[in-house]
Symmetry: C2
Subunit: 581 residues, 2 copies
């Protein structure tokens, strides 16, 4: 090693030792006769002292060190006169006997500090410099710890990690595949996996019993704010289990991670049926860091000649605690916010529970004091609270109210990044109607098993069939989802039929899996966690971008390496493809 | 869980307990009144007993169980009358009170046993059944342990695992890339990484200090017997180190793996310069499980009017211990084997050191007793040994002699799969001449640093420049290779120039890396291990195929899922590509 110690480990116990450190010049302060240099590496920061005791050569060298120069310094550990107790090395400094410049540096395009002055584009282009900043490096160190703990927890439970192939077969179901032309098989293509779903099921058929893999997956989707074309899953599968076993094992894993990576002990996770989640929170991933449950008001408000309510399929309200002081202007702003096309509400009705105990609503014309008292009772308001009401078609108004609840929760400071509210959502519908294609799609994927007692409904009322499917939600974000799978060829064929596959299509796409089911497939099920998302929650970030070392932008570009890019004509000829762009 | 125990854990301490097991019917023997069923899962095999104590229903069910049926049995643990001490569960059996068939099975196309009757193609098509066989499953369990131990060892040394992108940029240097058309950037392509080389170097520039990743890599090569288009590397990089540090850390890792996964303690690894490896073994990856070093004979044999030797650049011999008894026929066969185009020798000369002490050669006409005594001395032969001599152009004859040495070593049983002979080969040449393109190529890759004392030779004698490059070889197989990298823009530009890049090409392909070198790149270096190959050595296999769950065949096909395959016209239109096949 070029160094004897890192920049993060020397302290008062090393006084008098001769040491050699390597690192980057964070800062250099020239105070006339004395120069202080902060040298930084991954492990910390150490102060270097060059003063009149140093040779003229060294003093000259020290004066010429620029920011981000890479240096190697040898010297003696001294006690500082002015200590900095905020950092572990803050009680000592190194009195230098030798400085070597290992590499120079141009002036970086932005400050390499916890709070940088670099814009997003500049930081993306110079990602290798952005990664030098402590917050981002710390995220990636934390991500490494998470992965290590996942592997430790699962290995201790007899799970084995098996690598499944990356070059697989394109399947039209689900999102768009990335494809890879095969040179050796002209005219044919591999696809990159959207998940190792079929392979992990085959591993269960093979008797692997307990499988996991931390694995890259790929989806060629139009990228919304926080999606990446390549992302990482913790992919898991077990045999001879019930849904209860899966929930227990992976609740255990999640608690293990919080305990060992963040030092947080979580209580056992509550469970909620999908139908209740939609009714109480208007979302299949409710943020349970705060209450503010929906209260359905149909029984209370209908029949009072207020057309908006009378004509609505659903009238639903929340209690915005302590918001009675909202000004007219604030309420107008909130109303405008709700009316934006992204949310699409038609209006907002409110009732203030004033400090003096009176209740005033925006619909006083239709609801008298007694009626509003009933509202207050239903919503359990106290003086100072505000009732916010939306009305409309059930599914739409629930989604709108979900947005409003989250917004108010945020404004009230109820969405604390250091608080963690996990939740299992269970009993998802098996199928979901797609307006565009006018047919049912699998809500999870075509391998999810229906609840046995609901199978009869597949023909009569497909939308009402519940699946053995579950999601793990933390703080309003889905971090994992899975199901008990079908392990029977007949039932799998029936599912494909209901999803609009002809028997030939089903055989062509998934024949290998259905064939496998005929050779002794065990009952099995599993779950997959979004590892990027999980890491971002652990890091307290809204975006996954800074828990990924080299993310792509919203056009799927890596602006640092300038990819994707054109390729040579000869390369395309070898692959027997042409671009028509 | 559907079971209370696995099929591998019950023993005499469980007598009398009521247990439930799940697994596959390995075998069923109906002995009239009594039926024995062997139930198998990943953990072992347990014997189930159905006899006249069982209900008629159960006896009927038991008789109808086919091979590979998946069953759940409940019963009582009894001591066996006839014990099988070869398996952990061999002292007990389960007297059944309940059998449930969880799934049936068609008759498998080959025997699910340690030695199967299935041919390679059939086993590939039904890979999920082949994976049920113990030897293959054990390989994958071992591979999992290896990966866990790699991660544990490196994490304990402050390495962090960072995921680098899979969708990157195509570079013409090196092997062929697999490419991925970008829908969002029409006419442009991503490439799949042949290794994360440039990204790990950027992580060093970012100050990550110690990085590793167990990662899939991709090469679109014509597949020789034992290559896969996708393969797995243990990819590692360190900053502020010398070559010595890398060798020590990764020798440590390899010894850790042997110790923790195979229970074998290895001595410290010998090191050999590339030039010596070529001279003594004719290979940069010598198999050191046995000696049989080359002896160069030019000084001994030239000038005796034997044209074959006089005209040869190199005459080289080995001592085939104890092979003096080879018959004329055996020697003829060996000669034919050497003359095959794959090896290309022109002939074989030999000298027997007979039991009576005399030495008889195939070239007695030119070499008298005294001359042959000198051969014997040079090769340190004893009565019973055979000297085998090849002559020709130096590089070619060394390669031929390498093949002959390995063949004789194999015949003599010196290549024992349970013996492990590791070796560091160091001081590789930086460049290697390519006959086809008539220019120098980087022997490792363009980022490898030359030895500082050899840089001056880059212009005058490029082939003589040595690199700071090293390979780890075990039993004649390269399992890892790496180098100290260039971390200076000027030197990197010089390398690209010598590799035939114009400054514009270098900038277009690797500008991001050279730019990064200008912002404080630390000295760094690393290594990458072939994880499939390492696993196969640990498993004692010649092929990597059975340490990979779902391998592809020599045409790059997965015959189980039938991939690659054609894709829909619409899919190609969206991607703005056409096939010209």
């Amino acid at each position: 090693m070029l160094r004897t110690h890192t920049c993060g480990e020397l302290n008062i116990s090393n006084l008098g030792q001769t040491v050699t450190l390597c690192g980057w010049v964070q800062k250099s302060r020239d105070l006339g006769g004395t120069t202080f240099i902060d040298v930084r590496d991954r492990y910390g920061l150490t102060q270097i002292l060059v003063n009149t005791d140093s040779s003229a050569d060294i003093r000259e060298q020290a004066r010429n060190l620029g920011r981000e120069f890479v240096i190697k310094v040898t010297g003696t550990v001294l006690e500082r006169t002015s200590k900095n107790l905020k950092i572990p090395t803050g009680e000592i400094e190194i009195s230098v006997s030798e400085i070597e410049i290992l590499n120079g540096s141009k002036i970086p395009p932005f400050m390499i500090e916890d709070e940088t002055d670099g814009g997003e584009e500049l930081r993306a282009k110079y990602r290798y410099l952005d990664l030098r900043r402590n917050p981002i490096r710390n995220n990636l160190v934390m991500r490494h710890k998470l992965a290590q703990e996942v592997r430790r927890y699962l290995s201790d439970l007899d799970f084995i990690e098996v690598e499944t192939p990356v070059l697989i077969k394109s399947t039209p179901e689900g999102a768009r595949d990335f494809v890879v032309p095969s040179r050796m098989n002209p005219g044919e293509f591999y696809a990159l996996p959207q998940s190792p779903q079929t392979f992990k099921q085959l591993l269960m058929v093979s008797g692997f019993d307990r499988y996991f893999q931390i694995v890259k997956c790929f989806r060629d989707e139009d990228l919304r704010a926080d999606r990446q074309p390549e992302f990482t899953q913790i992919d898991c599968e077990m045999s001879f289990i019930t849904q209860e076993d899966i929930l227990n094992v992976f609740e255990g894993m999640t608690r293990h991670l919080f305990n060992h990576v963040k030092g947080i002990t979580l209580e056992s996770f509550p469970r909620m049926e999908y139908a209740d989640a939609m009714r109480l929170y208007g979302s299949d991933k409710p943020d349970l860091r705060f209450g503010m449950e929906f209260v359905e008001m149909n029984d209370l408000v209908k029949g009072k000649n207020f057309g908006v309510f009378d004509n609505a399929e659903l009238v639903v309200a929340i209690n915005a605690k302590g918001c009675a002081e909202y000004t007219r202007k604030q309420i107008d702003e909130l109303t405008e916010w709700l009316k934006r096309p992204q949310i699409g509400a038609t209006g907002l009705i409110y009732a203030r529970h004033n400090a003096d105990g009176t209740i005033k609503s925006s619909v006083d014309k239709f609801y008298d004091e007694a009626a509003l008292a009933e509202w207050s009772k239903a919503l359990n308001t106290e003086p100072g609270d505000m009732i916010l009401v939306l009305a409309g078609a059930k599914d739409k108004v629930r989604k709108q109210m979900n947005e409003l609840r989250l917004e108010i929760g945020g404004r009230l400071g109820l969405r604390d990044k250091n608080k963690f509210a996990p939740l299992w959502v269970v009993d998802f519908p098996l199928l979901e109607w797609d307006e565009e294609t006018e047919r049912y799609h699998a809500m999870h994927h075509p391998f999810t098993s229906p609840k046995p007692e609901d199978i009869a409904l597949l023909d009569s009322n497909p939308g009402a069939v519940r699946a053995n499917a579950y999601d793990l939600v933390i703080n309003g974000t889905e971090i994992g989802g899975g199901s008990i799978r079908i392990h029977d060829k007949k039932l799998q064929s029936l599912m494909f039929k209901h999803l609009g596959f002809s028997p030939e299509e089903a055989q062509k796409q998934f024949g290998f899996l259905m064939d496998a089911f005929e050779f002794g497939a065990p009952p099995h099920g599993g779950i997959a966690f979004g590892f990027d998302r999980l890491s971002s929650i652990f890091a307290g970030l809204d975006s996954i971008r800074d828990v990924i070392a080299f993310p792509k932008n919203n056009s799927g570009r890596d602006v640092m390496i300038d990819s994707p890019s054109t390729i040579a004509e000869a390369q395309m000829n070898e692959l027997k493809i042409k671009t028509t762009a």
